[in-house]
Amino acid sequence: MPSISREEVAHLAHLARLDLAPDELDHLAGQLDQILGAVAQVTEVAADDIPPTSHALPLTNVFRADEPRPCLPAEAVLAAAPAAEDGRFRVPQILGEEG
């Protein structure tokens, strides 16, 4: 049975880019532990020689013809952006203090 610590949950939240309040971390730690305990049932199945299925359809390399097609106008796309400037998405600083 997995036992997931609050520290691990905080680490996962960081990996998932989720800023969680302390009470959320506490609540989630308990629930994740409970859910992981239940889903761990899959480990009971003897399946060493069974190939994994990642997808319901056995399709590979579906290509379309390499022909130019119209795409969405930039204005239409930028209209839904949280911030735009000079025909581009405006984003917060990405390099941090040393940048």
């Binding site: 998932a16 989720l18 859910i35 049932q41 997808h55």
Partner: protein, 509 residues
């Protein structure tokens, strides 16, 4: 014909074609009904998150003009439809039930949306759902609950509770749902409506906001089997914009529905899945399911018991595979290109803004699943959890393969219980996940499945669903069985199950 809001979609379309009624009148009748019963998140059915009365009336007027000009109309032209708010629309917001996408106006139409419009179907608005289609009660919507028209204190199922409730409340005769683990079928079961999850790849996912891409499948929701079949035909078929779309002819589901309605299932082999019943199943659900199985025999089908030994691992495998895909898919909500952005005050980095936005924008269930998926995919756990779940997925597909070598369709209850009270399971994820016990195997294997009304449970008088499972690309068998059961029950009940639902007159302000 019944009143406009109680009529079948096929009847409405015929009446519009024959000039007995205009599409505008049909649309207005449904808008009036919505105004009378839909209400708000605090009171009423609250099936709709967004209503587009002007757009709907304009689309209806366009159908009337086409008719006046002598143009041929499609089989569902002029019929109103409720669209689950996970399908993008260029003229209506698409929120996916999340604060992250509040007011988001997509710049394009989904393939489903385009096909609906081309068929002359009138889109009334967007329906409520669990946030990012994750849930079994619609309580995870950031915009409030939807209520079950059979009992307004109970859940309408989920994630497509809004679409199912719109049908059951006679707000629309047609709706679109999406089904990742049961989100079309379970709401159909608990609202006494018809819901079909086509074969994976049968309906394009282009413009469907992804939950778990290897499982998501959109499909038709309706009050009758033939109406669902007609809608299936409109939305199904190959789409070059979805690389997982199947490039094969759509099974003739309309012919199957018509044939089924004749009530003869002789020669059909039906398998009752041994593992989907017993402990944890409500007595009234099992009783109605047993009645339905007896009915299938009476209609001429040969019924046998079939074992699918790995189905019991479907739920745990699903709750590893789904969150893994969710954690990856929902990474796109990064506060950079669309949707909510929180804390961009010039002092914070993009990464901090991203974390703050996601922390405030996602609801509890979305966060749980993102975290669960992040855990399952992290190094050290990947093989034991995600890798093993993928192997179990193979075993479940093999169970289906072995079963379909013996029988033409499989049956089970759609969901272990009838609609439960709002609030009962909202903070008990494991109890909530149990709702999808019977529906999940078909998502993992990708085969076609559906839920059809099977009567009311004795103990609470609430609808029960008959779950029918067919092989990949044998969607027509669902309609054959569904229509036969529907016709037999209509004779027995003196009409459809929904005619027994309570009236909802005058509940909204």
């Amino acid at each position: 014909m019944n009143s406009l809001t109680r009529a079948r979609a096929s009847e409405l379309a015929a009446a519009v074609r024959d000039g007995e009624v205009s599409a505008v009148e049909v649309t207005q009748a449904h808008l009036d009904r919505i105004a009378a019963v839909d209400g708000t998140a605090e009171a009423g059915v609250h099936a709709f998150l967004h209503l587009d009365a002007d757009g709907a009336l304009a689309a209806a007027a366009a159908v009337d003009e086409k008719r006046a000009a002598g143009e041929e109309l499609g089989l569902l032209a002029g019929v109103p439809l409720a669209l689950k708010d996970v399908i993008v629309t260029s003229d209506m917001p698409t929120t996916v039930g999340s604060k992250l996408l509040e007011g988001w106006q997509p710049p394009y139409d989904a393939t489903i949306t385009r096909r609906l419009r081309e068929a002359g179907i009138v889109i009334l608005g967007k329906t409520n759902l669990d946030e990012f289609a994750m849930g079994s009660s619609t309580e995870n919507s950031a915009y409030g609950v939807t209520r079950n028209p059979w009992d307004l204190t109970r859940i309408p199922g989920g994630s497509g509770g809004g679409s199912a409730a719109a049908l059951a409340a006679f707000e629309a005769p047609l709706a679109i749902g999406t089904d990742t683990g049961g989100s079309i079928r379970q709401p159909a079961a608990v609202t006494g409506t018809v819901g079909v999850k086509p074969t994976y790849g049968g309906v394009s996912r282009y413009g469907l906001v992804a939950c778990a891409s290897s499982l998501d499948q959109a499909g038709p929701c309706a009050r009758t089997v033939l109406d669902a079949a007609l809608l299936h035909t409109v939305i199904a078929g190959h789409d070059p914009l979805d690389s997982t779309s199947i490039d094969q002819p759509v099974p003739d589901v309309v012919a199957a529905a018509r044939r089924g309605a004749e009530g003869d299932l002789s020669g059909l082999r039906v398998g009752v899945v041994k593992e989907l019943g017993g402990e944890g199943y409500q007595a009234g659900v099992e009783a109605r399911f047993n009645d339905a199985v007896a009915l299938l025999s009476k209609l001429g089908a040969e019924v046998v018991e079939v074992s699918c030994p790995h189905f019991k691992y479907g739920l745990p495998a699903y709750y590893l595979i789904l969150p893994s895909e969710v954690s990856s898919n929902l990474a796109r909500f990064d506060a950079m290109r669309y949707g909510l952005r929180v804390g961009d005050d010039g002092s914070r980095s993009a990464e901090e803004v991203m974390s703050l936005t996601r922390g405030q924008g996602f609801g509890a269930e979305a966060k749980r699943r993102i975290m669960l998926g992040t855990y399952a995919l992290s190094s050290g756990y990947y093989d034991a959890y995600y890798g093993q779940a993928q192997k179990v997925r193979t075993l479940i597909a093999r169970d289906f393969e072995a079963a379909f070598a013996q029988v033409d369709v499989l049956v089970s209850p759609t969901t272990p219980t009838t609609a439960f009270p709002i609030g009962e399971k909202v903070d008990d994820p494991l109890a909530m996940y149990m709702n999808d016990l019977c529906t999940i195997p078909s998502n993992l294997a990708g085969n076609a499945s559906a839920s059809f009304p099977a009567g009311l449970a004795d103990e609470d008088g609430l609808p029960v669903g008959l779950h029918v499972m067919a092989p990949v690309m044998a969607d027509d068998r669902l309609y054959l069985v569904g229509a036969a059961v529907e016709a037999a029950y209509a004779a027995q009940w003196g009409g459809t199950l929904l005619e027994q639902a309570p009236a909802l007159e005058g509940i909204a302000p």
